[in-house]
Amino acid sequence: MSDALQLSFPFAIVQGTVLNEAPQGLYIPPNALKVMLAEFEGPLDLLSYLIRLNKFDIRDIPVFEVAKQYQAYLAMMEQLDIELAGEYLFMAAWLTEIKSRLLLPKAPNQENDGDEEDPRAELVEKLLEYEAYQHAAKWLGELDIVGRDIWPICLCVPPAPGLQPTLNAAQLWQALHQVLQRSRQRKAHQVRQEVFDIGDKINLILQRLGDTPLFLWQLVSCHEGRLGLVVTFMAILELTYRRQIMLMQTDAFADLAICRPDYAFE
């Protein structure tokens, strides 16, 4: 047990980089570090990572060192504004508790059955169990999954007359999910398309602008939607900036009137 105390490790090792002090001069781009740190699936995942990274024996964890590195990671995560779940802090407290129990002198009569009394035992058990499920999850993730990796062909055949198919609610909820996902995809797709060109709008405004003022509503049409309105508005701002038009408003919130720069006020 005492050798765990004597081990001297760097402050932290991040992706193979040895850090001897508080991680301020990290050369890892903060965004990359943030992504990496935010990927931890919780305190057990982080601890398991640290143990693997340092090649520690999971059945004989040097708790003092691991706790120190764990704290350093938490500090980094806080520094990078990663929202820490309460479980991370709970684990920190647990590690502290294990440390303090390891520091307590052993009663002489317990020296021979130290293993059963190991304050680390419960943590090790939890870690091993969690790692086993991570291992299983990896297997599952590598399977060919219908809908992701496999699309079975099932031609739709009208059932024989009189045969009532079974329907369960889960199928219906899933169909709703599909409809919603598709409408979201479609929306995202529409935003990506550059349907309106500011240049076109600028030309339109200059073409239409005569001696009398134009109003914003005369320049947009319903089918262009919100995006059309935004682009038209940007075109107006651009023309104002170029001093090719002048904007007027008779009142607060009144319609914007667009006129030639030489428009004469009455």
Binding site: L155, A160, A169, Q171, Q174, L176, V179
Partner: protein
């Protein structure tokens, strides 16, 4: 990647007819060296290809679709007696839209799904006694309004239409909040 493969994969996996235009729109960007005419050519070849294998390429006003040849239907029905098939996506999506937005017209369903809804599909839902007509909408053309039936509630094990609509409402809200989370995470 060959055009044949992509057109084949699309036609075989689609649960509704696809027009030449729709097919072309799906592949156009990836096959710049091809034309609509090539797609039409692939369809002709595909038709020959499936003949004699219990399939046929059907084309009508709604588009092209691979279907089981009528003279093989008996065997398929026999298979379905043992393992009833899953209901098609098109059918389930149409049903859930009716359930959520009832009373609703077919045109309104199509607007939400973004694709046309065939008469065959509406008839199938009627035959299963999951939807029924409930008057017409007071707009030009007087389209039929569709609602769900007590049979649907019974098959789903739900106590009332209100419970069904409330559950669907809940799922839509859930979807919206999750979408919000996702956007923020990006």
């Amino acid at each position: 990647m060959r055009l044949n493969s992509v057109i084949g994969a699309l036609l075989f996996s689609s649960d509704q007819p696809l027009t030449l235009e729709a097919l072309w729109a799906l592949v156009e960007a990836d096959f710049p060296q091809h034309t609509r005419q090539d797609v039409a050519q692939v369809l002709t070849e595909l038709e020959k290809r499936v003949t004699g294998w219990g399939l046929k390429l059907e084309s009508n006003a709604l588009g092209y679709r691979i279907q089981v040849a009528p003279d093989c239907l008996d065997w398929v029905h026999q298979l379905y007696e043992q393992t009833p098939p899953r209901l098609s996506r098109a059918l389930l999506e149409t049903l859930v839209i009716i359930a959520h937005r009832q009373p609703i017209t077919r045109a309104e369903i199509e607007a939400i799904r973004g694709v046309s809804v065939s008469s065959a599909l509406m008839n199938q839902l009627k035959n299963y006694d999951w939807i029924k007509a409930a008057g017409v909408k007071e707009v030009p053309g007087h389209p039929t309004l569709w609602v769900t039936t007590p049979r649907l509630l019974q098959d789903l094990g739900l106590p009332s239409k209100q419970a069904l609509v409330a559950q669907l409402d809940k799922l839509v809200k859930q979807h919206e909040t999750e979408e919000g989370i996702e956007v923020r995470a990006l």
